[in-house]
Symmetry: C2
């Protein structure tokens, strides 16, 4: 069978998938990302790929989506994994004998979404909310990578000057307030402050906890979600004022909360965006959700 | 003589210029912008154009750069002038009998700069610092206007959530901290707090006051400039993390402060930008400075 492998290297989990040449995900495997230096990160990828190759034979190519800046086969910088300036592609090629391509993970997600959904729009911005916040920008139907391949770091734009210290070295980055990790932190703090709340009784706090408890009517959880929507909305509004794309897509784990989440972000932005009159950006959940990164990375390997 | 007219409609002053077909500014006239409703704004433009027409005859076209969102011949929204949804172009055409085009003023400045400087870069972001902050974005050699013509409102991106109320309705916009108006406000406050300073003895506070006094060694003024550089740098760093363009140009009145100002913004950003390794964005003053808007608007009318 002719197929491609897409890798979604996340700050928390690594997923690999076998993807057919039309962009359909055939099989997906997932495991916690290596956290003991660069080789552990590469080992998890290689081991998962071997499982796919065992089942489907050699793929036509491997596309690796990385949560950070990449250039050719090298990871230039990623702030949520213990990697910088590492030729991960070359290492994987030598171990598996398969050609590779590296792509920023949010770019991969945007490409996956754009291609598979056959979007007619010329300009699309995709924001992925995971461990961090990534951005994939499509302009005139093509991934926009800037002069050096590292454009789209929308998570590392300051929305609260002098605020929380970010892994990138700045204070007050969007990512520190609106990522899934940030939401977990905000939820944990509320759980401590409100021992009477459902949050305090949650077995383990995840990015879903506050949403689940808010839906069940918990007041402290609702307050966490309200504030979180504000943070997300502020960043989305900034990006719409800059790009005014046809579509603004929200992907990553948190987007699984669906319209309960998206509609509230949309309301927040609609009241505040600069363009209040003409044709306005459509804000919606990325339809491929977590698969978009794998599919986009795989399709990128085909190019 | 074949020539074009470019209009730079500012929140404070309106300038019009006669520009030859190669983009050379032949004559420029300036007057305070009308502040008594839309007709007063149009009247100032029309009266200045008549002076040029009296001297040079009928131009081939008029390009009007507007500090806000435009679509076809209509000003959709501008927050620093008393205009919204006004067909200013049609009115000017009917009074002068000359074809017009409307363009966002920062887009005009970017186009002027890009064309006249024969820039080889594909991706350029220009930020104009005036009464407000405007953004002109060039991608693949073309002005990027988004899906509705209103992209590039970089001044209306929140850098301090919950901060100062902005004319756009949000709190904490970049423009509220880093425009020339913001600097004047910051300077006036310091003058009050430090009656011993040179600032307090300035006859009239302008966007130049703090820079002039800081250069002369005044401590209070230096503190104002330091803080102002931080604000500007924070926004520039955000935009570079998003766009990673070949060039980031800073234009508008404050850019007349030259390297004293630009080099300090550059230092601030260099330490903080996400991409610390590969090819990095060159930050420099827009070379045409205040003329870029007039020239770009004029050239746009020729298209």
């Amino acid at each position: 069978m002719e197929y491609l492998v897409g890798v979604d290297l996340g700050g928390t989990n690594t997923s690999v998938g076998a993807v057919d040449l039309d962009g359909n995900l055939i099989k997906e495997l997932s495991r916690p990302s290596g956290d003991d230096g660069v080789y552990s990160v590469a080992d998890v990828i290689i081991s998962l790929c071997k499982e796919l190759i065992f089942e489907y034979g050699k793929p036509c190519g491997i596309g690796i989506g990385v949560p950070g800046a990449v250039c050719d086969g090298t990871i230039i910088r990623t702030v949520n994994l213990p990697i910088s300036y590492f030729e991960i592609g070359k290492m994987i090629e030598s171990k598996l004998g398969v050609k590779y391509k590296l792509i920023n993970d949010a770019n991969a997600a945007a490409l996956g979404e754009y291609t598979v959904m056959k979007m007619k729009a010329e300009n699309v911005v995709l924001m992925t909310i995971g461990t961090g916040i990534g951005g994939g920008i499509i302009i005139d139907g093509k991934i926009y990578e800037g002069a050096n391949g590292t454009a789209g770091e929308i998570g590392h734009t300051v929305i609260r000057k002098g605020g929380l210290m970010c892994t990138c070295g700045r204070r007050g980055c969007f990512e520190r307030y609106a990522s899934a990790n940030a939401l977990k932190r905000q939820t944990a703090r509320a759980a401590k402050l409100h021992p009477e709340s459902m949050l305090a009784n949650a077995e383990k706090i995840s990015g879903k906890t506050a949403f689940d408890c808010a839906r069940a009517g918990d007041k402290a959880a609702s307050e966490v979600v309200d504030k979180y929507i504000e943070y997300v909305g502020e960043g989305v509004c900034n990006l719409i004022n800059i790009f005014q794309p046809e579509y603004f897509l929200i992907g990553g784990g948190i987007s699984n909360e669906g319209e309960y989440f998206i509609s509230r972000v949309r309301d927040y932005v609609r009241k505040r965006e600069y363009n209040q009159f003409g044709k306005r950006t459509e804000i919606r959940a990325a339809s491929l959700c977590n698969d978009a990164g794998i599919i986009g990375a795989a399709l990128y390997a085909m190019e």
